[in-house]
C-alpha cells in the first residue's frame, strides 16, 4: 500500500465515517440539548465535548489503523480524518443556514448552528469548525506519536474529567447531603451550578495522574507479594476479601444516598431476573423471550393477596411471597409443557407470545374485576420485617440483597449437580443429551420452573417496592432487557449477570436526565459491545480456558 493510498483509505474514509457519526449526533439533537449542560462551566458544553471526543477518536483510530509505520504518515492520517470529520459539520451548517431543512430534520435548528459555531455568524463560524477539526486531528496525531505512558495518562485524565462532568447531577447532591464544612467547601471547589470549575478540572486531572502513577509504580510489587504468600495465607486473604465484600455490600446503601440506592434496587431486581433467565438460556439453552410473564405473575400475586383494593385477603408480604413463588413455578411448568417439542426460534416466539398473553390478560376489561385492568392494583403495603416497615429503597435493598444471595447460592449449587450437567448437555446437543439418558421433558421443565421461580421472586419484591402494579410495567422490553443483560455480561456466567445488570440497567438509570437519547445510546452500545466483545464483559471461566486451549489444539494438530 502506498502512502497516497493509505491517506485515502485511512485518512479520508475513516474521516467520512466519523463525519457521518457526528452528523447523526448533531441531527438527532444531542449536541444541542446536551449543550445546556456544561462539562467545564462556561467553557465546554457537553454537546460540543461529545463532538470533540468523536473527532479525536476518529482521528486516533485512523492513525492507529494505518499499516505504515512511518510516524509522519500516521500523523497525516490523523490530521486528515479530523479535518474531514469536521468538514461534514461545516457542510451541515453551511447548508442548514441557506436552506430550510428543518421540515425534515427537526434537529437542524438555528440553536444547533449557534452551538456549533460558538455563535459566530457567517463564514467565520464555518472556519472555526474546520479549524477545531484540524486541531483535534493534530491532537490525536500527537497522542499517537507519544510514548505509551504519557498517552495513557492524557487519555485517562480527559476521560476522568468527562465522567466527572457527565455525572455531576449525581455527585453534587452527594456533596450537598453531607452538609459538612469540608464537603461544602470541596463541592464548591469542584463544581459550579452547571459544570466543573476550571480549578476543579485541573485538580481532577492532576489527582488522577498522581494516583495512577503511584499505582503503576507499585502494582507489580503488590501483585508479586500476593503471589508469594503461602497458600494458607492466600486463602485467608481471600476469605478476608469476601468478608470485606460482604461488609461493603451491607453498608453500601447507607453511604449511597437515596437515588443511588434506588438504582441499586433496580439493578438488584434485574440481577434476580437475570440469574433466573441465566438458568433457562445460559444453562439449558432455551431461548425464552416471554420471561416477563413470571415477573408479572409474582407481582400480581403479591398485589392481589396484600392489597386491600380488590380483594381483602389481608396477607402480609411474607405470607404472600411463597405463594407468589410457587404460582410462578407452576406457571413455568405450564408454559413449559406446550413448548417442550419446539426448538430454537420457534421456542422464542412461542414464549414471547406467552409473555404478551399474560400482559394482555392482566390489562383486559374482561378480567378487570379480579386483576384491576388498566387501573392496576395500588396500595400494596411495604414489607414488614420483625415489626420494621421497609419503606425506603435502602430497606428494600436488603431484601433484594438477600434474594440475590439465595438465588446465587442455588444457581451455583445447581450448576455443579446432575441437573446442571443435564441442562448444559441439553444446551450443547439435545439429541445426544437424550441418548445419554437425560429425560428432556423433566430437565426442560425443571429449567423453566427454576427460572420462573426466581423471576416470580423478583416480581414479588418489585410489587411491594413500588406499591402498585400496572399491566404496562410488564411489557416485552423487560424480557428483551434481561436477555440482553445476560449475554452482554457473558452467557452462563454468574458474575456476568451482575456486571450485565449494572451496565445495562444501572448506567442508563444514572444518566436518566438524558432520557430522550437513552434508547439511542443503549441500542448503539448493544451493537458495539457485541461487535467488540462477543463473549461478554465477564465471560464464564470455561471460556477463558477455551482461549487458552485454542493455541494448544493448534500446536497439537500441527504436530
Amino acid at each position: 500500500m502506498t502512502k497516497a493510498q493509505s491517506l485515502w483509505n485511512h485518512g479520508v474514509k475513516i474521516g467520512a465515517i466519523g463525519g457521518v457519526s457526528v452528523l447523526i449526533i448533531a441531527l438527532v439533537g444531542m449536541i444541542e440539548s446536551f449543550g445546556k449542560r456544561d462539562i467545564i462551566s462556561g467553557i465546554l458544553p457537553m454537546g460540543i465535548a461529545m463532538a470533540l471526543i468523536i473527532c479525536i477518536l476518529v482521528a486516533y483510530i485512523a492513525a492507529n489503523k494505518t499499516p505504515i509505520c512511518e510516524k509522519s504518515v500516521k500523523f497525516a492520517n490523523a490530521v486528515i480524518s479530523g479535518f474531514v470529520t469536521s468538514g461534514f459539520l461545516a457542510l451541515l451548517v453551511a447548508i442548514g443556514r441557506s436552506f430550510n431543512i428543518r421540515d425534515m430534520f427537526v434537529g437542524a435548528s438555528p440553536a444547533l448552528y449557534k452551538a456549533l459555531t460558538a455563535g459566530i455568524a457567517g463564514a467565520g463560524g464555518i472556519f472555526l469548525i474546520l479549524a477545531v477539526g484540524l486541531i483535534c486531528g493534530i491532537f490525536a496525531g500527537i497522542l499517537i506519536i507519544l510514548n505509551d505512558l504519557p498517552r495513557k495518562l492524557i487519555i485517562n485524565a480527559l476521560a476522568t474529567i468527562f465522567v466527572l462532568g457527565l455525572l455531576q447531577e449525581l455527585i453534587i447532591p452527594i456533596f450537598k447531603s453531607w452538609d459538612f464544612g469540608v464537603t461544602n467547601y470541596l463541592g464548591k471547589l469542584f463544581y459550579t451550578q452547571n459544570g466543573l470549575t476550571i480549578f476543579g478540572t485541573v485538580l481532577a486531572a492532576v489527582i488522577y495522574c498522581i494516583i495512577s502513577l503511584l499505582w503503576k509504580a507499585n502494582q507489580d510489587t503488590i501483585k508479586t507479594t500476593y503471589k508469594d504468600l503461602p497458600k494458607g495465607t492466600r486463602k485467608k486473604v481471600k476469605t478476608f476479601g469476601f468478608f470485606v465484600l460482604a461488609v461493603f455490600l451491607i453498608v453500601l446503601p447507607q453511604f449511597l444516598g437515596l437515588f443511588l440506592s434506588e438504582v441499586l434496587t433496580i439493578v438488584g431486581l434485574y440481577i434476580l431476573l437475570g440469574l433466573g433467565l441465566n438458568i433457562v438460556v445460559g444453562y439449558a439453552g432455551l431461548l425464552d423471550l416471554g420471561y416477563v410473564a413470571f415477573f408479572a405473575i409474582g407481582s400480581y400475586v403479591v398485589a392481589i393477596l396484600t392489597s386491600p383494593e380488590i380483594f381483602s385477603f389481608g396477607f402480609n408480604f411474607w405470607q404472600a411471597l411463597p405463594i407468589a413463588v410457587i404460582l410462578g413455578i407452576t406457571a413455568g411448568v405450564m408454559l413449559g409443557i406446550p413448548v417442550l417439542k419446539m426448538r430454537g426460534d420457534y421456542l422464542a416466539i412461542a414464549t414471547l407470545g406467552f409473555g404478551e398473553i399474560i400482559r394482555i390478560l392482566v390489562l383486559s376489561d374482561f378480567l378487570k374485576p379480579w386483576l384491576g385492568g388498566a387501573q392496576g392494583i395500588g396500595a400494596i403495603p411495604n414489607p414488614n420485617f420483625m415489626g420494621f416497615q421497609m419503606v425506603k429503597p435502602q430497606h428494600i435493598y436488603y431484601l433484594i440483597l438477600a434474594g440475590c444471595m439465595l438465588v446465587v447460592f442455588i444457581s451455583i449449587r445447581l450448576k455443579n449437580s446432575r441437573l446442571g450437567r443435564a441442562w448444559m448437555a441439553m444446551r450443547e446437543d439435545e439429541d445426544v443429551a437424550q441418548a445419554m439418558g437425560i429425560n428432556l421433558v423433566a430437565t426442560k421443565l425443571f429449567a423453566f420452573a427454576t427460572g420462573a421461580g426466581f423471576s416470580a421472586l423478583s416480581g414479588a419484591i418489585f410489587a411491594s417496592k413500588i406499591g402498585s402494579v400496572y399491566p404496562h410495567s410488564f411489557n416485552l422490553f423487560i424480557s428483551i432487557n434481561v436477555v440482553c443483560l445476560i449475554i452482554i455480561g457473558g452467557i452462563g456466567s454468574l458474575p456476568g449477570v451482575v456486571v450485565g445488570a449494572a451496565v445495562l440497567m444501572g448506567l442508563p438509570e444514572l444518566l436518566r436526565e438524558f432520557a430522550e437519547y437513552r434508547m439511542f445510546v443503549y441500542g448503539a452500545a448493544l451493537v458495539a459491545m457485541m461487535l467488540l466483545r462477543p463473549e461478554g464483559l465477564w465471560p464464564e471461566a470455561r471460556h477463558k480456558i477455551e482461549l487458552h486451549g485454542d493455541d494448544e489444539t493448534q500446536t497439537q494438530t500441527a504436530a
Binding site: A422, G437, R542
Partner: protein, 259 residues
C-alpha cells in the same frame, strides 16, 4: 445367550424404505459388525435401536423385553449406549463433564439434593467424579479432564466419546465407525481397545465399520446390509467370500446415494 433380537424391523422415509424387514440377533459378549455400502441403512439401524427413530414395523427385544417406541433416554436406562459417526461431544463442556454426563443414568439426585447439600448427593457426586476420572484414565486421557471437549484433537475426541458411552455402564455398546479418519496406528489402538472392552468389561459391541481390515480382524460375526436389506450374515471368513456381498460392494457402482 441372545442379548438383542430384532424381528422384521422396517423403517420408511416417505417412499424410501431405509430398513426392510430386518432380522438380526446379537449374542452376548460378542463383537457384531454391520457393514454395507453407503446408504445401506446402517446408521438408520442404530437410530432405530436407540429410539431416535421409531420403526414402522417390527419388534426389538433387549434382554427379552421389547424396547420399540421407548424414548432414547429410557433405552439408555435399559443398558444400551452409542457413539456417533461424526463425533458428537458436548463441545463447550470439559472432558470430565462430558464423561460425568454419561454417568447420568446411575445418579439419583434431583432438584433439592444439591441445593440443600444432602449427604447422599455429595457422596454420589464424589462417586461420579471418581468413575469419570477412572474412565478417562482407562482411555489414556488422564490429566486432561479440565480441557474443553472441542479443543481435543480428533483421535482423543473419539476416545472421549467412547469414555462417555462407557460411563453409562452399558451392556450393549453401539459404535458407529469408530476408526473413521484414523491412521493405521490409531486404528490398531482402537481395535485393541474394542476387543479389550469385550474381553475385560464384558460388553457386547455392535459395530458399523467401513475398514475391512478392522471388521475382519475383530468381529465375531458380520452382518451385511444393502438397500435396507440383510444380504448376508456369518463369520468374517464366510463374508469375505460371499458372492452377493462382493457384488454389492463392487458390482454396482451406482450405490452412491448418501444419507
Amino acid at each position: 445367550m441372545i442379548l438383542l433380537s430384532i424381528q422384521e424391523m422396517t423403517k420408511r422415509f416417505g417412499g424410501l424404505v431405509a430398513l426392510d424387514a430386518l432380522n438380526i440377533e446379537v449374542k452376548g459378549k460378542t463383537i457384531h459388525s454391520i457393514i454395507g455400502p453407503n446408504g445401506a441403512g446402517k446408521t438408520t439401524f442404530f437410530n432405530c435401536l436407540t429410539g431416535f427413530y421409531r420403526p414402522e414395523e417390527g419388534e426389538v427385544a433387549f434382554e427379552g423385553n421389547s424396547i420399540v417406541g421407548l424414548s432414547p433416554d429410557r433405552i439408555v436406562y435399559k443398558g444400551i449406549a452409542r457413539t456417533y459417526q461424526n463425533i458428537r461431544l458436548f463441545p463447550n463442556l470439559t472432558a470430565l463433564e462430558n464423561v460425568m454426563i454419561g454417568y447420568h443414568v446411575h445418579l439419583k439426585s434431583g432438584f433439592l439434593g444439591p441445593i440443600l447439600g444432602l449427604k447422599s448427593t455429595i457422596k454420589e457426586e464424589a462417586k461420579a467424579k471418581e468413575v469419570a476420572l477412572d474412565l478417562l484414565k482407562y482411555v489414556k486421557m488422564e490429566g486432561k479432564e479440565d480441557a474443553l471437549a472441542k479443543n481435543f484433537p480428533y483421535g482423543e475426541q473419539r476416545k472421549l466419546e467412547m469414555a462417555r458411552a462407557l460411563a453409562s455402564q452399558p451392556k450393549l455398546l453401539l459404535l458407529d465407525e469408530p476408526t473413521a479418519g484414523m491412521n493405521p496406528r490409531e486404528t490398531q489402538d482402537m481395535m485393541d481397545f474394542i476387543e479389550h472392552m469385550r474381553d475385560e468389561l464384558g460388553i457386547t459391541i455392535v459395530l458399523i465399520e467401513h475398514q475391512m481390515r478392522v471388521v475382519m480382524n475383530i468381529s465375531d460375526i458380520v452382518t451385511v446390509l444393502d438397500y435396507g436389506k440383510m444380504i448376508a450374515e456369518g463369520l468374517p471368513e464366510e463374508i469375505k467370500n460371499n458372492k452377493t456381498v462382493i457384488e454389492a460392494y463392487l458390482g454396482s457402482g451406482d450405490a452412491a446415494d448418501s444419507h
